[in-house]
């Protein structure tokens, strides 16, 4: 009976399944990305074949840590240590590969065992490298080819595979080459230590940390598990997961609600002929579960497909690995069954509670007796479209929620992106400087390195009025996800960028001022000590800029920062003030030609040329794309269901002589009204989602959503377009039918 019921209502069954499938697809695709982000980043440094990993204390990630290479020998001398090897991990920006990871390893080291050589031979000399399989495919290179990296040419001697997409999209070279290429002569990012007796790992760990208080030793694998950077990605993954469940789950629950509410009348009939409530609820539950199951399986396929689709872009491929795990599918199915069942049973239960006569009187799932509010609105709303909506409050609500979820999702994500952009723009000093200078080919602003003498050379240029040197790096502090440190020259005007609210600006070495947010989180005030990697700094001021990144960081003297981050005579950024700001574009081009090691960008345009932001934007765009697909289909589905239900009504109108055009106009008008209403609901949903997300500890500081008018317009427009498309098809179909067919349509 259950299957028959579903089979005989093919269109509704199909639409319901579609709704569920899309929900499940959203859950699968988004959790796959979330998982891919977390595990992809995590695995890069996870399997090193060593027992202990030694990094600089409070380094945000192992590739941001800097340790003197000499310490390796000293560690080896410790009792219980078998082998020690240092690694340089560099990240380079390449065409189509914003995060090209280059690992510098000692060719004789055990760490190389991690890379499974599938072709070629071991590294044996200078200027040789192994290329990951994915990179080889993307760059169309093979063994024997040459490869240009950081202005040097290398010969590819081998291809490897590790199964971690970030690694397979990168390269491995000798430690010495990497130290030269990444300006780390005499330094490494971290050490991997092999101990003689695996049972004594903790003992050795202890010894290292006691001997070098500014180093952190952790069990391999654990290091990445506890890495703060990873937490960020995990939070992002979690955020995606929650979003997915909300969008997918609510979407499918909504579909089921719509589908069962429509049948209130039928339930009344069954009650009237003597069915017990339980039998009815069980029947509907059975149907809902079958729908959810089939829809769920289809959704998994769809989700995998969507993920593949998004990954077609090579830039996204290495970053958004899209890791599928069996429990993810199970989770999606469970959500589908649970929410689908719930969405089906609730209206069934409600309908079965009604007196059979009342249930039979219901039309299309909306209560015939309007509430006082609806009646009031119905009387005074001039628009026919709104009047119809108000008189079917139940269905309108369900449709609005359905579409609203889709819109909300899109809106929330785009507001996040905008927020990040806005913060970043403010941080980049838009308005205060005319040109920003950073290292060419740096993957990440925190990895940009410029010789500070470039500043003096720039000052000699006739167009340049002033140059500020800024060092920018990230570290971590308890309770904060990132702790950004800005090194600034005390005599520089740039210091005024950090508006001091309490105390005074930094003036001497070993002084620091904290952003308002950081000070609050760390519970520190003026006069307190702040310990960073074995040095202590005195807090002399609290500043506030209104930019979340900055307010969650600290400012110290450029000299201190250079020392702290191993960047002697180097800076991350130069902010240039010009005599004639209107000529910024031309000056930037001229300077860039003169100093190829750097890129010169108008401050306002910096975002587009800063690689790490471009990457984030790419990821977000991919997600927004996914969301538009998912949310859009959810919207269209809601509208489709809503209009399909009215085929009969369209038949009546045709029978009394309405033209197709008029009917289409009416349906489109209603859909437009519904879509706009839904978009507004969606905006509210989006804002709520974001405010929930910002509540995640430590996250709020970095992701302040920004709501731009254009986003509002775009979202409302999108809802309108998709809503109308979703409404047009069933309406068009209904008007093509002979009126009598439409009238008979159930």
């Amino acid at each position: 009976m259950i299957l028959k019921n579903l089979w005989r209502r093919k269109i509704r069954t199909l639409l319901t399944m579609l709704g569920i499938a899309i929900g499940v697809a959203a859950v699968v695709a988004l959790s796959a990305f979330g998982e891919g982000l977390a595990s992809g980043m995590g695995k890069v440094f996870a399997d090193t074949r060593g027992d202990i990993m030694v990094t600089q204390k409070e380094a945000l990630a192992s590739f941001l840590s800097v340790v003197d290479a000499d310490i390796g020998g000293e560690i080896r001398a410790l009792p219980g240590v078998d082998e020690v090897t240092g690694t340089v991990a560099g990240i380079v920006q390449m065409q189509d590969a914003p995060y090209f990871i280059v690992m510098g390893e000692d060719p004789k080291s055990f760490t190389l065992d991690h890379y499974k050589l599938v072709e070629g031979q071991p590294l044996s000399g200078r200027r040789q490298l192994w290329l990951g399989k994915v990179a080889a495919r993307n760059f169309k290179k093979g063994v024997g080819d040459t490869f240009r990296l950081q202005d040097s040419t290398y010969r590819i001697v081998g291809l490897y595979e590790t199964g971690v997409s970030l690694e397979d999209g990168g390269a491995v070279m000798s430690l010495a080459d990497a130290q030269r290429a990444f300006d780390k002569v005499g330094k490494v990012n971290y050490f991997n230590v092999k101990v003689k007796d695996p049972r004594r790992i903790d003992e050795v760990k202890q010894r290292i940390e006691t001997k070098w208080p500014d180093l952190a030793a952790s069990r391999s694998g654990e290091a990445t598990k506890t890495s703060e950077m990873l937490d960020i990605y995990r939070s992002f993954g979690l955020f995606l997961g929650i979003f997915a469940v909300l969008v997918g789950g609510l979407g499918m629950m909504n579909t089921m609600l719509m589908s069962v509410m429509e049948r209130t009348r039928e339930i009344g009939v069954l009650r009237a002929i003597g069915w017990r409530r339980r039998r009815i609820v069980l029947m509907i539950l059975g149907e809902a579960l079958v729908l959810a199951l089939v829809g769920g399986v289809a959704g998994i396929a769809l989700g995998v497909g969507l993920t593949m689709l998004v990954r077609l872009s090579p830039a996204v491929e290495t970053l958004l690995q899209g890791v599928f795990r069996p429990d993810m599918f199970a989770q999606a199915l469970v959500i589908a069954l649970l929410l689908g069942g719930l969405g089906g049973v609730y209206p069934a239960w409600r309908a079965s509670r009604l007196a059979p006569v009342e249930a039979m009187r219901q039309e299309g799932g909306s209560a015939p007796s309007m509430g006082r509010v609806s009646r009031f609105l119905a009387r005074y709303l001039p628009l026919g479209a709104f009047r119809n909506l108000v008189r079917r409050p139940g269905r309108t609500l369900v449709t609005v929620v359905g579409i609203g979820i889709g819109v909300g999702f899109i809106f929330a994500l785009s507001a996040m992106t905008e927020g990040m952009k806005a913060s970043f723009m403010a941080m980049a000093g838009a308005g205060e400087a005319d040109l920003m200078v950073e290292q060419a080919n740096a993957s990440d602003l925190s990895l940009s390195k410029l010789d500070e003498r470039l500043a003096d050379r720039l000052l000699n240029q006739p167009e340049v009025e002033g140059v500020s040197k800024i060092l920018f790096s990230t570290t971590n502090a308890p309770g904060l996800m990132y702790f950004l440190i800005f090194g600034v020259d005390p005599a520089d005007d740039w210091l005024q960028h950090y508006r001091v609210r309490e105390g005074r600006p930094v003036a001497r070495s070993k002084e620091i001022m904290l952003g308002r947010f950081a000070a609050n989180s760390l519970k520190k005030g003026i006069g307190d000590e702040m310990r960073l990697a074995g040095s202590s700094y005195e807090i002399v001021g609290i500043y506030e800029t209104g930019v979340s990144y900055e307010d969650a960081g600290g400012v110290m003297l450029l000299k201190d920062a250079q020392e702290r981050f191993g960047m002697d005579r180097k800076v991350s950024l130069l902010a240039v003030k010009l005599r004639d700001p209107s000529r910024a574009e031309g000056v930037a081009a001229a300077l860039e030609a003169q100093y190829p090691e750097a890129i010169f960008t108008r401050a306002a345009a910096m975002l587009d040329r800063t690689q790490d932001f471009a990457t984030t934007t790419t990821i977000l765009n991919a997600l927004i794309g996914l969301t538009i697909v998912v949310g859009g289909i959810v919207m269209m589905n809601a509208m489709l269901m809503s209009v399909f239900e009215r085929t009969q009504e369209i038949g009546v109108l045709r029978a009394v002589g309405w033209r197709r055009r008029r009917i289409l106009r009416m349906v489109v008008g209603e859909s437009l009204a519904l879509a706009v209403l839904s978009a507004l609901a969606g905006i509210v949903i989006g804002v709520v989602l974001n405010s929930l997300f910002v509540l995640i500890p430590g996250m709020g500081a970095f992701l302040a959503p920004a709501y731009t008018p254009s986003a509002f317009i775009a979202v409302v427009g999108l809802a309108a377009v998709l809503g109308v498309i979703g409404a047009l098809y069933p309406a068009w179909r209904a008007t093509r039918m002979q009126p009598i067919e439409a009238l008979r349509y159930e």
């Binding site: 039309e363 008189r391 029978a655 033209r659 009126p739």
Partner: protein, 277 residues
Amino acid sequence: MTMQTATLPAIIVETQNLTKIYGNGYQVRALDGVSLCVHAGEFVAVVGPSGSGKSTLLNMIGALDRPTSGEVIIDGAPLSKVRDLDRFRSETIGFIFQTHNLIPTLTALENVETPTYELPLRGRERRRRAEDILRLVGLGERMTFLPAQLSGGERQRVAIARALVNRPAIVLADEPTGMLDSHTTQDIMDLLTQLNRSQGTTIIVVTHNHEVARATRRVVTFRDGQIQADVPLKNAFDSDLYDLKASSLGHALLSGDALPSDLQEIAPQLRDILARV
């Protein structure tokens, strides 16, 4: 009969060899070569068992469905040649369904207004027309009610009002009283009879209620998609006598109750005639 033929008005509905086949594999001949003429101003009942093709015929005449073969000619125009069927449905035909088929979200008044949208009328004019017709069917007090708030008879009267609002030349009613009790049925039939009399509207009503058929002047019987019998109720005069006999006046005449003064004189003759019917 001959005298009547001479004064018969033009043919308004004609079907020529009308055939409708449903289904692809297992085919059902719902209509099998039906040819029928209806003159303007006629009140025709189409009767027959379920599935004999009467509703199908009505749907074809009302251009709600297309015949498999054959032709429907309305007022001299073959429907297969009519380009604007919407306009035809809106202006020429008033359709009354067995289930009222009112739009649940619209009030009685708004439902009645729906057919007027294709006419070049102003909103106020539209409203006035719908109000007039609703008053005519006795629902002046119920205009702002939603269908769910009306009784079965009231809903059907709204549906009739909707069929009449554009003053169509032809009213097609498919079991208009199928769901109603005999008292309400009588009311509805009175309404249709009055319409037929006063406006000269051609009415074709599908029914299997013989009381309803009796209210008309011609009964076409269907069986297996074909016309089995086509019987005029003797003549118009007989039919009127039926009506008179069924009316309260007829009742008064036969029972000898008090009569209006102007009828006193002819009362005995009338009584005789009625007794013979």
